[in-house]
Symmetry: none
Subunit: 78 residues, 2 copies
């Protein structure tokens, strides 16, 4: 769950949690992230918050998203 008391926005906290899982290899390249609906339930936040978090990861190049398919861990860059 995200920390209600932290001054850090939920969507930033969530992005950091997901980024950590990617960096630790718990989520591997080409592997799908949980769907927005799943993340929403798992972390107890609204869908918009999930989308903000994933947008951050996308901006950092950590994930790629396809409409109707999902969001996947990006390939490592050479």
């Amino acid at each position: 769950m995200v920390d209600e008391m932290s001054p850090i926005p939920f969507y930033v906290q969530l992005a950091d949690l997901l980024a950590k899982q990617i960096e630790e290899g718990k989520l591997k390249p080409r592997q799908p992230l949980p769907s927005e609906a799943t993340l929403q339930q798992e972390y107890g936040v609204a869908r918009g918050t999930v989308r903000s978090a994933v947008r951050l990861l996308r901006d950092r190049g950590l994930v790629v998203t396809f409409t109707g398919r999902g969001t996947f861990v990006a390939e490592k860059r050479p």
Copy 2:
């Protein structure tokens, strides 16, 4: 863009800009306005500012808004 130096609030400036486009026929009856997100980017203001501007136009009867669909130029009144 809105004028930073003007004493007129951003949202009033923006409402006037949009009203002018409607009156000049650049935006025609039943035609959708740009989304709040688009106006936000185009005019370099926050969403709340866009919403304040659109609320003014709605109060003047120039536009009608539908949740999840958008804001449209109102039909001419007989």
